[in-house]
Amino acid sequence: MPASPTAIAALLESGNVVNVDADGACHAEHTGNTPPNAEAPAGAPKRSWKPWFPVIDYDRCTNCMQCLSFCLFGVYGVDDNGHIQVQNNDACKTNCPACSRVCPEVAIMFPKYSSGPINGEPVSESDLQREKMKVDISSLLGGDIYSTLRDRSAKAKSRFSTERSADKALTERQRCLDKLQKEGMIPAEVLAEIDLSNLPSPEEIQRRAAEAAAKGQAALDANQQRS
């Protein structure tokens, strides 16, 4: 007798791996994690974390360390042989695919992203051209995009220092988040978990950016020494 697709779907949706044999008999085993919309079985942990993390396409990756230099949350690291790898999945910010946008080789995927090539769709010639354009813009800005951004930030600081307001900034963040939610970019349950009063300050973001850039440079230097 064939297995029931509805019964199997229910087991899967509550976090079970299901083995179906040729006779239609099902054997279920809980993975230990329960998807957000399901009831966790007694004793099993309930996780709200959506499996959102970067996946590196090593057929495309050139080990340039741009992702390591860019990520503010310490998701990336290098292995003992100096190869870039994803080391801290849980630190990745749900629905943020920013590192994939800085990868010049279109080698970073987020399988649960809505569109390609970030979601793993084959990389087209136009995707590569777009990445090349980004690199060219970086060169036009003097080759060091970070220094250009720092200069621009310094100028902006003096311009905005007179009108700085923490309340205004929080309202603006809320407005942007609402807009993103309406456009379907952030699920309601993710938005509900964001503590607006606890977002990192601009200074903290700058500190993390400098730390990430230093990590990337150190990895590049180490690789250069190796070769």
Binding site: V20, P35, I56, Y58, M109, P111
Partner: protein, 96 residues
């Protein structure tokens, strides 16, 4: 006969429900043994031992999403898929 693995993508709504249901129904009616997993991404993130077991099969067919992403997930979990793995992409299909 290849070992078939079906991914339900339980943590996100990126594959239309009717497409996932249709594939599951076909597998149930095929009379072949298969494994169904809640979410390959979640299992790769946690390096679930089942992935290693799957990757060691001589012939494997995976019903999930974009092949580049599926291969990347297995590689990142430390158990690369064999080059012969057949990956069926439910993201590119509409409900029958």
């Amino acid at each position: 006969m290849p070992r078939t693995i079906y991914c339900r993508c339980a943590y996100a709504q990126i594959i239309p429900g009717p497409v996932k249901d249709a594939h599951l129904k076909n597998l149930c009616e095929s009379g072949e043994a298969f494994d169904a997993v809640p979410d390959l991404c979640e299992m790769a993130a946690n390096r679930h031992p089942k992935l290693k077991e799957i990757a060691q099969e001589e012939e494997v067919r995976i019903v999930a999403c974009h092949p580049r992403a599926v291969k990347g997930l297995f590689t990142q979990a430390g158990c690369p898929l064999p080059a012969t793995a057949d990956i069926i992409n439910m993201r590119e299909q509409t409900a029958p």
